[in-house]
C-alpha cells in the first residue's frame, strides 16, 4: 500500500469561513458531534483512495491583509492549496486572484489548487456567479467547488479532490516536497491531533464497497440546493450535474463515491 503525505494550506480572506470549512469537514469525517477541542487551525486527516492512503496536513492561515507578508512561510513546501472565497462577497473573490498570483510567484513546485466558493446556502445574496468562478478556476488549473458549511454541502468533495490531486502529483513525481512512501505504518507516527484513527476505521469499513475511481477526477460542482447533503459516511454519490455543464461540453462522469 502506498502512502502519500501532503501539506495543504487553506488560503483566503478573513471571514470567508476557512476554518469553518476545515472544522466541519474534520468533524464529519470523525463522526463526532462535538467540535475539535483544541488546536483548531492545524489538522491532519487521512483519506483512503483505492489502495493509496493520503495524509493531508491542513494548515489554516490568517487571512488578514496585514499578514499577507508572512503568508509565504505557510505555503512554503505546501503541496496543495485550498483557496476559499465567499460567494456573497465579490471582494473576497478578487483577493483570491491576488493569492493565486502570489502563489505562482513564490512556489516553484507544482501545486494542486482547489478553488472553493463558500456560503452557497446564501443563494439570494450571491455575488459571484458560478460561471465566472468556474472559468477562473479553469484558467488557473484549479478545480472549483461550491460549498456550504452551514448545510455541509460539498465539503467532502473539496478534500477528496485535493487528495486525488496529490495522488496524481505523486504519480507524476514532479514535486520534491511531497512525501511518498511505501509503508503504510509510517503514517502512524505523527498523529498528535489527527482524525487518523477514526478515518482509518471508516476507511476499513468501506473498503469492500465501491471505491473512488482513480485517477479519474472531475470538476464536481455541486449544483443548486437539491443535491444530496454531504455526510461523513462513505456512500455512492451521484455526480452533481447541471445544464450548464452540458452546455460547457462536459462529459457525464461515471458514478463516484467518497472513501
Amino acid at each position: 500500500m502506498r502512502g502519500i503525505e501532503g501539506k495543504v494550506v487553506v488560503l483566503g480572506s478573513r471571514g470567508v469561513g476557512k476554518s469553518r470549512l476545515v472544522i466541519k469537514y474534520i468533524k464529519n469525517a470523525l463522526h463526532r458531534s462535538e467540535e475539535p477541542t483544541i488546536a483548531v487551525s492545524f489538522f491532519t486527516c487521512n483519506i483512503m483512495l483505492d489502495d493509496v492512503k493520503i495524509k493531508l496536513q491542513i494548515w489554516d492561515t490568517a487571512g488578514q491583509e496585514r499578514f499577507r507578508a508572512v503568508a509565504p512561510m505557510y505555503y512554503r513546501n505546501a503541496n496543495a492549496a485550498i483557496l476559499v472565497f465567499d460567494l456573497t462577497q465579490y471582494k473576497t473573490f478578487t483577493e483570491i486572484k491576488s493569492w493565486i498570483q502570489e502563489l505562482h510567484r513564490n512556489v516553484q513546485d507544482p501545486m494542486i489548487l482547489t478553488l472553493v466558493g463558500n456560503k452557497m446556502d446564501l443563494q439570494s445574496q450571491r455575488a459571484v456567479s458560478r460561471d465566472e468562478a468556474y472559468l477562473f478556476a479553469s484558467s488557473i488549473g484549479a478545480t472549483y467547488f461550491e460549498t456550504s458549511t452551514e448545510t455541509d454541502q460539498g465539503l467532502e468533495q473539496v478534500f477528496l479532490s485535493t487528495a486525488l490531486g496529490l495522488v496524481r502529483l505523486a504519480d507524476e513525481g514532479k514535486s520534491h516536497s511531497l512525501r511518498s512512501f511505501e509503508s503504510t505504518d509510517s503514517l502512524f507516527y505523527t498523529n498528535g491531533n489527527t482524525a487518523f484513527s477514526y478515518t482509518a476505521a471508516a476507511v476499513v469499513r468501506n473498503e469492500d464497497g465501491a471505491a473512488f475511481r482513480l485517477p479519474y477526477v472531475h470538476i464536481g460542482i455541486p449544483v443548486d440546493g437539491q443535491d444530496v447533503k454531504a455526510t461523513g459516511e462513505g456512500r455512492l454519490e451521484t455526480p452533481s450535474w447541471a445544464i450548464e455543464h452540458i452546455a460547457l461540453g462536459e462529459v457525464e462522469r461515471a458514478r463516484w463515491c467518497c472513501y
Binding site: 503525505e5 501539506k7 478573513r14 471571514g15 476557512k18 476554518s19 469553518r20 472544522i23 467540535e35 475539535p36 483544541i38 488546536a39 483548531v40 487551525s41 492545524f42 491532519t44 496536513q57 494548515w59 489554516d60 492561515t61 490568517a62 487571512g63 488578514q64 496585514r66 499578514f67 507578508a69 508572512v70 503568508a71 512561510m73 505557510y74 513546501n77 516536497s177 512525501r179 509503508s183 505504518d185 509510517s186 502512524f188 507516527y189 505523527t190 498528535g192 491531533n193
Partner: protein, 703 residues
C-alpha cells in the same frame, strides 16, 4: 507558576546591580558582581586565559539572580537567568542593553577558544570521558529504548560519529558556513533514518520504536553539541536577537486593540493563560534539543488557543490565532529568539518543521516574528505620524498589560478591582432589570387575570331568571283541586295558587319542603298556621277582621248573618255574645301569639311564610284537619281567602314578597310592627292547650 514568578519581577533595580558599582547588573553566582568585575577579579586570582569568557556565561552574568523557576532541562541553572532576563526586558533601559551587548562583542573574537572553553565549563560538558549527569541520563534512556541491542550499539556509534563530525567542522580553521553545517547534520539525520528503517539490526523494532530511536539520536546529538551549534559565532544570529529584542521593547505600547485580537488584557483568567503562554515561549530558550523547543512552542500555542476559545466562545481560527500569538511574543519578548528559531530551523529533522503540529506552530511563531520585524503603521492600522510618535516615545501610552507587568502592584490591583467592579455592576444591573421584569410581569399577570375574569363575566353574565314552578306541582295542585269536587271556591284557590306560584321566588327545593310540610304537618298545626297567617296578615286590619269572619262563618254553625251583625253591634248588651266573642277572639289571638313567637324566633324565611299561607289555603289540609267539618266550612275558609285576596292584595304581597323585592324590608316589617300589636292582644295559653288536646277545638274556634 506565574504567581511565583510575579514577585520576582519586582526586585529592586538596586539589588541587581554589580556590587562594584560599575552600573551593570550583578549576579549572585558571581558574588553579586557583574560579569566584568567578576572576570577581572578572576583574572587576577587565577591568571587564566586573557580571552575571557564566552558569551554564554557572560549572558548569565548579566542576567538577574536565580529564581524559583522550574526547568526540566538538565542545564537548568544556566538557562534560568535567561528566562528571568526575558521577563525583565521591558523594564530595562537602554544602558542595560549596551551593557549586555558591548562586552559580548568585545570577546567574541577568538571564537575557537571560546567554544572549547565553553565546553569545559562545568555545566554540561560531555567532552571529557567522565560521564556527566546529562550523559548518564542519556545512557539510561538508551538502555530503555525498545530496540535490539545491536541497534543500540549502532545508535551509539552513530551519535558519536555525528558528534565527532560536528566538532571537526567547528574546529576546522577554514571558513565556516552555517548552511554547510546544517546540511551536514541534516544528511546525518537522513542517513540515520534510512539506517533505522532499512538496517537488519532494527528489523524487529516497530515503527514507533524506530521513530523514537531517530528522535533520540537527534536529541542526544543536539543536546551535546548545543554549545557549538546554537547561534554559532560565524552567524549574525546574535545581532538579530538584539535587534528583535530592541524592536519588541520599542513596541511595548502595542495593545490587543492594535492587533485586533480578542484577548482581554484585564481579565485575571485570561491574563493567567497569557502568562502560561509567555512562560512557555520564554522557556524555549531553556531547552537544548530542537524537539523540546518545538514542544515548548506547541504548548505555548495551545495555551493561546485555550485563551481564544474562552474569549470567543468557539473554536478559534488562524485569523484569531496569529494576532494573539504576536501579542504574546510582544509581551514575552523571549530572549535569543532568532538564535532559537534558527537553531531549530537548521538542526532539527527537516520534516519536523515542515509538517506536523509542531511545524505548524513553529511556522506561526516564525511568521509572528517576521511580522514584528516588518511591522509598520499600516499593519497596525495607524497613521504614520501616530506610529512614529509611539515608536519614538513622544506619545505616552499606558496599557493595562504594562501597568500590571511593571508599574506597581497597586496599579495592577486598581485595574483588577475596576474589572471586578465592572462585573459586579453588570450583575447588579442584571438583578435590577430582573426585578423590573418581575414587577412588570406581576402587573401583566394582574391585568391578564382581570381581563380573563371580565371576559368570563361577559360570557356568562349573572342573570336572574324567573323561576318556573315545576309542572308536577301545578298538576298536583290541580289534582287537589279536582279532589275538592269542583267546588266553586276551588276556582279561587287554584287561581290564587297559580298566581302565587308565578310570583314566588322560592326555588323548587323550597316548594318541595312546602309539599312535604303539606303532607306531614298535622291538622292542629295547620289550623294554627291558618290563624297565624290570617292574624299576621290582618293585624293592621284587626278591628275589622272579626266582622267578616263572623259574618261568613255563620253558615257553618248556623249563624245567621244577622246574628253576627247583632253580635258585633250588641257586644255590650249581650253577655253571652260578648263572652263568646272574647273567647273567640282570645282563642284566635292566643294561637296567633304562640305561633308567631316561635315563628319569629326560628327566623322564618319567606318560604315558611308562604308555606303557612299555602297551608291556610290548602283545601286538602283543611279537609284532613276536620274531616267532620261540613262542606260549608270550606266555603267559609274560601270566602275568607277570597276576602283576603280581594281586600288586601298588598297584604298578600307582604306575606309572599316578590322575588324582586328585598326581603329584609318584609322581615323588618314583621318584627318591628306586627309583634307588638299581637302581644298586646293576648296572653292566654289555655286555648292553645285546648287546641292541641281537644279535637273539638276547631269547632270552638269556629264558634
Amino acid at each position: 507558576m506565574m504567581a511565583n514568578r510575579a514577585p520576582m519581577l519586582r526586585i529592586g533595580q538596586q539589588d541587581l546591580k554589580c556590587r562594584q558599582g560599575c552600573g551593570y547588573y550583578g549576579n549572585t553566582q558571581f558574588d553579586g558582581l557583574c560579569s566584568k568585575c567578576f572576570r577581572e577579579r578572576n583574572d587576577k586570582q587565577r591568571k587564566r586565559q586573557k580571552a575571557g569568557e564566552d558569551h554564554e556565561t557572560l549572558k548569565v552574568n548579566t542576567s538577574s539572580a536565580g529564581g524559583t523557576l522550574e526547568r526540566k532541562s538538565p542545564q537548568h541553572s544556566l538557562t534560568m537567568g535567561r528566562a528571568n532576563k526575558a521577563k525583565k526586558q521591558p523594564e530595562k533601559d537602554e544602558p542595560t542593553t549596551t551593557a549586555s551587548t558591548m562586552p559580548r562583542k568585545k570577546f567574541t573574537v577568538p571564537a575557537v577558544l571560546q567554544k572549547t572553553l565553553k565546553s569545559k565549563f562545568p555545566t554540561a560538558a560531555p567532552q571529557p570521558r567522565v560521564p556527566s549527569a546529562t550523559e548518564s541520563q542519556f545512557m539510561l534512556q538508551l538502555r530503555q529504548l525498545r530496540i535490539p541491542d545491536d541497534g543500540k550499539r549502532k545508535l551509539k556509534s552513530e551519535i558519536q560519529q555525528l558528534d565527532h563530525e560536528i566538532r571537526k567542522y567547528m574546529n576546522n580553521n577554514s571558513s565556516k558556513n552555517v548552511d554547510e553545517l546544517s546540511e551536514l547534520v541534516q544528511n546525518a539525520y537522513t542517513r540515520f533514518a534510512d539506517l533505522v528503517h532499512n538496517d537488519a539490526r532494527f528489523e524487529i523494532a516497530t515503527n514507533e520504536d524506530r521513530e523514537i530511536a531517530i528522535d533520540f539520536f537527534e536529541k542526544v546529538v543536539m543536546t551535546q553539541n548545543h554549545n557549538l551549534l546554537f547561534s554559532p559565532y560565524f552567524t549574525t544570529d546574535e545581532e538579530c536577537d538584539i535587534k528583535v529584542q530592541k524592536r519588541i521593547r520599542q513596541l511595548s505600547w502595542i495593545t490587543t486593540k492594535h492587533l485586533d485580537c480578542s484577548i482581554d488584557e484585564v481579565n485575571a483568567e485570561a491574563r493567567d493563560l497569557v502568562y502560561n503562554a509567555i512562560s512557555e515561549l520564554v522557556g524555549i530558550d531553556s531547552y537544548y534539543s530542537p524537539q523540546e523547543k518545538l514542544l515548548c512552542t506547541v504548548r505555548c500555542c495551545r495555551h493561546i488557543f485555550e485563551l481564544l476559545k474562552r474569549s470567543t466562545g468557539g473554536p478559534a481560527s488562524a485569523d484569531d490565532f496569529l494576532p494573539a500569538l504576536i501579542f504574546v511574543v510582544l509581551k514575552a519578548n523571549p530572549v535569543r529568539l532568532h538564535s532559537n528559531l534558527n537553531f531549530v530551523n537548521r538542526f532539527t529533522n527537516a520534516s519536523r518543521v515542515m509538517s506536523g503540529e509542531g511545524g505548524y506552530y513553529f511556522t506561526n511563531l516564525c511568521s509572528a516574528i517576521a511580522f514584528i520585524e516588518n511591522l509598520n503603521a499600516e499593519s497596525l492600522g495607524l497613521s504614520a505620524e501616530e506610529f512614529d510618535a509611539y515608536m519614538s516615545g513622544e506619545q505616552t501610552y499606558s496599557t493595562p498589560w504594562e501597568s500590571a507587568l511593571l508599574a506597581c502592584e497597586s496599579l495592577h490591583l486598581i485595574s483588577e478591582n475596576m474589572k471586578c467592579m465592572e462585573q459586579l455592576q453588570k450583575r447588579n444591573s442584571v438583578i435590577s432589570t430582573g426585578i423590573k421584569e418581575f414587577e412588570r410581569e406581576l402587573i401583566e399577570f394582574q391585568r391578564e387575570i382581570t381581563e380573563k375574569v371580565d371576559m368570563v363575566m361577559e360570557k356568562a353574565p349573572l342573570t336572574l331568571l324567573p323561576i318556573k314552578t315545576p309542572p308536577f306541582l301545578i298538576s298536583q295542585a290541580r289534582a287537589h283541586l279536582a279532589q275538592d269536587g269542583g267546588e266553586a271556591a276551588a276556582g279561587h284557590y287554584q287561581s290564587n295558587l297559580l298566581s302565587l306560584s308565578q310570583q314566588t321566588l322560592t326555588v323548587k327545593g323550597k316548594e318541595q319542603i312546602l309539599e312535604d310540610s303539606q303532607l306531614d304537618v298535622g291538622h292542629t298545626l295547620a289550623l294554627k298556621d291558618t290563624s297565624v297567617s290570617s292574624v299576621g296578615r290582618l293585624s293592621p286590619l284587626h278591628p275589622n277582621l272579626p266582622q267578616p269572619d263572623q259574618l261568613f262563618a255563620s253558615p257553618i254553625f248556623n249563624y245567621t248573618p244577622f246574628d253576627a251583625v247583632s253580635l258585633l253591634e250588641e257586644t255590650s248588651e249581650n253577655d253571652d255574645v260578648l263572652m263568646l266573642g272574647t273567647e273567640f277572639q282570645g282563642g284566635l289571638t292566643n294561637i296567633n301569639y304562640d305561633f308567631d313567637l316561635s315563628d319569629q324566633s326560628g327566623e322564618n324565611s319567606v318560604a315558611e311564610d308562604t308555606k303557612l299561607n299555602l297551608d291556610e289555603f290548602d283545601p286538602l289540609a283543611q279537609q284532613q284537619n276536620s274531616p267532620n267539618t261540613h262542606p260549608a266550612e270550606t266555603t267559609l275558609l274560601d270566602t275568607t281567602a277570597d276576602s283576603l285576596i280581594d281586600s288586601d292584595v298588598p297584604v298578600s304581597e307582604v306575606l309572599l314578597p316578590s322575588p324582586l323585592k328585598p326581603e329584609v324590608a318584609n322581615y323588618r316589617g314583621f318584627s318591628n310592627f306586627e309583634i307588638p300589636s299581637i302581644s298586646c292582644n293576648t296572653g292566654d295559653f289555655s286555648s292553645l292547650n285546648q287546641d292541641v288536646n281537644d279535637p273539638v277545638a276547631p269547632v270552638q274556634i269556629n264558634k
